[in-house]
């Protein structure tokens, strides 16, 4: 019964929600069900607070990360007491002239913004690892990402041809000079390819080609985002949709029970 009870509740709730979804004029029932869910999660927060306090109290008792746990508990109780005080004094902790708002604006928001800003460095670090041209797929990723990044910046019509020219010049130079253990026709081909790429780097700088490339970078970026990227995204969306329905049916039919004890 310990297992059947919750499963029966899940099946009935799922059937109820599905039926309501297909009915016109039953929006109030749906809103009421949502309010019930919000009330339940409000009470569940007490469970979270209980876990948080116990976890850090135990850490302090065991001498593990005492400083961190101590700072957390002190900050937690100060915030709660301050919040209740502001509620009593100003009617709401978030009232315009409330001192709690000072805490919120000068402590919480800067901390939150700091964590968000750190993302920029993590993106750079992840991009460095992802964009290394280890194989052909990674090379395509590198080229596409470079085109998109350049296409999205200011003056991309000037930056793109110059960047392409520099890339070809460096690639050509590397191919031209990196000829160890190459002889005869292989060496000749390598030298020709390097020279060809270096020549191409200068051809790009000719005004008609420069203007053509610069003028079309924006269109190329838009095409990359709206066609190949969108196609892949929609494929994943489609799979997700069917996966969700299949998973929901498994739960509704009581086949999937690993979420319950």
């Amino acid at each position: 019964m310990q297992r059947q009870g919750p499963i029966a509740v899940v099946i009935l709730s799922a059937l109820f929600s599905t039926t309501i979804f297909f009915l016109r004029g039953a929006e109030d029932i749906q809103t009421y069900a949502l309010i019930v869910a919000i009330v339940i999660s409000g009470f569940a927060l007490l469970l979270g607070v209980d876990s948080l306090i116990l976890y850090h109290m135990r850490n302090i008792q065991e001498g593990k990360n005492t400083l961190f746990s101590g700072v957390l508990l002190i900050s937690f109780f100060i915030t709660v007491i301050w919040g209740f005080f502001a509620w009593w004094r100003y009617g709401s902790p978030f009232a315009q002239d409330s001192t709690f708002m000072w805490l919120f604006l000068n402590v919480y928001l800067p901390l939150d913004a700091t964590m968000f800003s750190i993302l920029a460095f993590y993106i750079a670090s992840a991009a460095y690892r992802a964009f290394r041209a280890r194989n052909f797929n990674a090379l395509i990723l590198l080229i596409t990402a470079s085109v998109i990044m350049i296409g999205r910046v200011l003056y991309s019509n000037i930056v793109f041809p110059i960047a392409l020219s520099v890339f070809l010049l460096l690639a050509g130079l590397w191919i031209f000079t990196n000829t160890r253990k190459l002889y005869g026709s292989e060496l000749l081909f390598r030298r020709f390819l390097g020279g060809f790429l270096m020549g191409g780097a200068f051809v790009i700088l000719l005004p008609p080609i420069f203007n053509f490339l610069g003028g079309n970078i924006s269109a190329l970026t838009d095409w990359l985002l709206s066609v190949p990227q969108n196609a892949a995204k929609r494929g994943i969306y489609l799979g997700l949709g069917f996966g969700q329905v299949a998973f929901a049916l498994r739960i509704m039919f009581g086949i999937e029970r690993s979420w319950i004890r």
Binding site: G25, I40, L47, G48, I236, F247, L249
Partner: protein, 293 residues
């Protein structure tokens, strides 16, 4: 332009107030919403196919599903963690138990806990939501019971961190840096904090395995993690792990529908392309769109 009803009528150009009385009354009669007929037909078809494949699965339990590398790597990650004598950190990300991705994450948690109980590796799970916390505790307790090691269960290993997004990211990062876990599993739903978690897992030297249904965060996981479950692979995880024929049947149903969609999209694309030469093909595309819309 907005239209309102009142006792005096006036018109400012962008707000029009009409005389009250013709205020539309709410329909009090509950009736079937005909605009959702196509969704109902789709769900009924899906359910019918699901029941049919369930029947097939009962007859022949050896249904094939393709290999999912990220799930195969769980054993390797747990084994490595055991060798290092470190804990495993597991998170279902941000969101409550009503999110299917988090439920799917909990099913993988059970498998990871069972595996880790074989080597007596502890599984730490910081939570962002109290309801998920309660469910996770039940899942872990059940996993230890099923593997015959209820003594390994410690309630304090599954704890509440914070419900704030970046507070959670910060707490998780600190935990990874201090504990240097052997493996980090991120299976559930994630927002902007995904990259912070994945990069910290990398820096801490852990084997990182991620799985999410959040398409915007998938590229970050693919770039930063050792293994990634892409999209619906997370939903397929429990079936893949358990190999329960009934669960595998539901995965098969999704695959059949994906194949059907691919056929419809291909036919539509061919007709749409042909409509450049002959407009009559465009009419066929319009009919297809109207039927599916």
């Amino acid at each position: 332009m907005r239209v309102y009803y009142g006792k005096e009528k006036f018109d400012t150009g962008w707000i029009t107030v009409k005389l009250e009385n013709p205020i539309p009354q709410k329909a009090s009669v509950i009736s079937f919403d005909t605009s959702k007929t196509n969704i109902l037909i789709g769900i009924l078809l899906f359910s019918a196919l699901f029941v049919f494949l369930l029947y097939l699965a009962r007859i022949n339990p050896r249904l094939y599903i393709r290999r999912i590398a990220g799930l195969d790597a769980i054993d390797e990650a747990v084994g490595r963690t055991a060798e290092m004598g470190k804990p495993i950190i597991y998170t279902t990300g941000i969101g409550s138990i009503d999110n299917l991705a988090i439920l799917a994450g909990l099913t993988v948690l059970k498998h990871v806990t069972k595996k880790s109980s074989l080597y007596e590796v502890s599984v730490l799970m910081p939570n962002n939501d109290p309801l998920t916390l309660a469910a996770a505790r039940e899942v872990v307790k059940e996993a230890y019971l099923e593997s015959g090691r209820p003594d390994l269960y410690r309630e304090n290993d599954i704890f509440f961190l914070t419900s704030e997004q970046f507070g959670f990211a910060s707490g998780m990062s600190g935990l990874m840096q201090r504990l240097r876990p052997g493996a980090v599993f991120m299976m559930g739903y994630f927002y902007a904090e995904s990259l912070i978690l994945a990069e910290n897992a990398y820096v801490s030297g852990a084997i990182s395995t991620a799985g999410t249904t959040s398409i915007d965060q998938l590229p970050f996981f693919i770039a930063s993690c050792d293994h990634t479950l892409i999209g619906d692979e997370l939903y397929a995880a429990s079936a893949y792990i358990s190999r329960n024929p009934l669960e595998v049947a539901s995965i098969k149903t999704g695959d059949w529908f994906k194949a059907l969609s691919a056929i419809i999209i291909s036919v539509g694309s061919i007709f749409a392309t042909l409509s450049i030469f002959n407009p009559q093909f465009g009419e066929v595309v319009k009919i297809m769109v109207n039927v599916l819309k």
